[in-house]
């Protein structure tokens, strides 16, 4: 039985890597991958705590919901990225600087 601390520290490291990617990267797709890393760190926490709830499966159920929500987020975000590319011919977040055309 692996202790909960191991899981939590692994997930904290994943979260930090994702945070670094979100802040530092100059490409919207890489920022999106960073967000996915952060979501996965959260799901790892849910699953690790869910081991202690056999009766109701709280952690695992909401890990499933979180995975589905992550898929939905990615689909919409990628559609938005494609639109942004069509308009600006770049997907660098810094160069997208106007709300209307």
């Amino acid at each position: 039985m692996i202790s909960l601390t191991h899981f939590l520290i692994t997930s904290a490291a994943l979260f930090s890597i994702g945070l670094y990617m979100v802040v530092a990267k100059k490409n919207a797709i890489q920022v999106l991958i960073g967000i996915e890393l952060i979501l996965n760190a959260a799901i790892l926490n849910l699953v690790a705590f869910g081991r202690y709830d056999k009766l109701n499966n709280n952690g695992q159920t909401f890990a499933l919901f979180a995975i589905v929500l992550a898929a939905a987020t990615t689909a919409v975000a990628l559609a938005i990225i494609l639109n942004v590319y069509r308009k600006y011919k770049t997907i660098e977040p810094d160069s997208i600087n106007q709300l209307k055309d």
């Binding site: 692996i2 890597i17 797709i29 081991r51 109701n56 695992q60 499933l64 494609l82």
Partner: protein, 182 residues
């Protein structure tokens, strides 16, 4: 140190090293393909947390769905972004990325100190659930109960998520459509 713990360390190291590679490489294609490895490693970690069904779902949805979607978007969008990324020839963490690296490291420090302060293995409800035998054992079948719970106790969130997925499908199709007018 038992075999399980060693395997857990191997899996965690695989996940973290590949995630670091994803974050540090300048080549977008390599980073996307290395993200595959991270997701597989995470699925392995879920198995160690005795959540088999979540692990399989992770592989099916993330690896089969999301990554293919990311690859598509990336091939449809940026030829010249790719070129620009490669010609920069980044160092591991360049000067420009130093503040974000410091931010991430400090945040990691905060999280770790918080985890050691909370001492999650001695939490009250966890001690209770261990005492009542409400924890998963490695020999348990975990999926049956999950399915029953999903259809009874968590039916409302399940339906809400299904409606949300339909809305997302319509919305994403509408957003990525080629606009003729307007």
């Amino acid at each position: 140190m038992s075999l399980t713990v060693i395997l857990f360390y191997v899996m965690a190291a695989l996940t973290l090293v590949s995630a670091l590679f994803v974050a540090s490489t300048g080549n977008l294609v390599r980073s996307v393909f290395m993200f595959f490895v991270t997701l597989f490693g995470l699925a392995g970690l879920y198995v160690f947390a005795l959540a088999d069904f979540v692990a399989i779902t992770q592989i099916v949805i993330y690896v089969g769905g999301i990554l293919v979607l990311i690859l598509f978007a990336f091939m449809l969008s940026n030829k010249e972004t790719l070129g620009r990324l490669q010609e920069k020839g980044q160092a591991f963490i360049g000067f420009n990325n130093l503040p974000s690296a410091i931010l991430a490291l400090l945040f990691f420090g905060v999280l770790v100190s918080m985890i050691f302060k909370v001492m999650p293995d001695q939490l009250e409800w966890i001690a209770n659930s261990v005492a009542n035998g409400n924890t998963f054992k490695a020999t348990d079948t975990t999926t049956n109960n999950l399915g029953i719970n999903l259809m009874t106790r968590y039916l409302l969130p399940f339906e809400a998520v299904s409606i949300l997925l339909m809305m997302v499908l319509v919305g994403a199709a509408h957003l990525s459509r080629k606009e003729s007018g307007a």
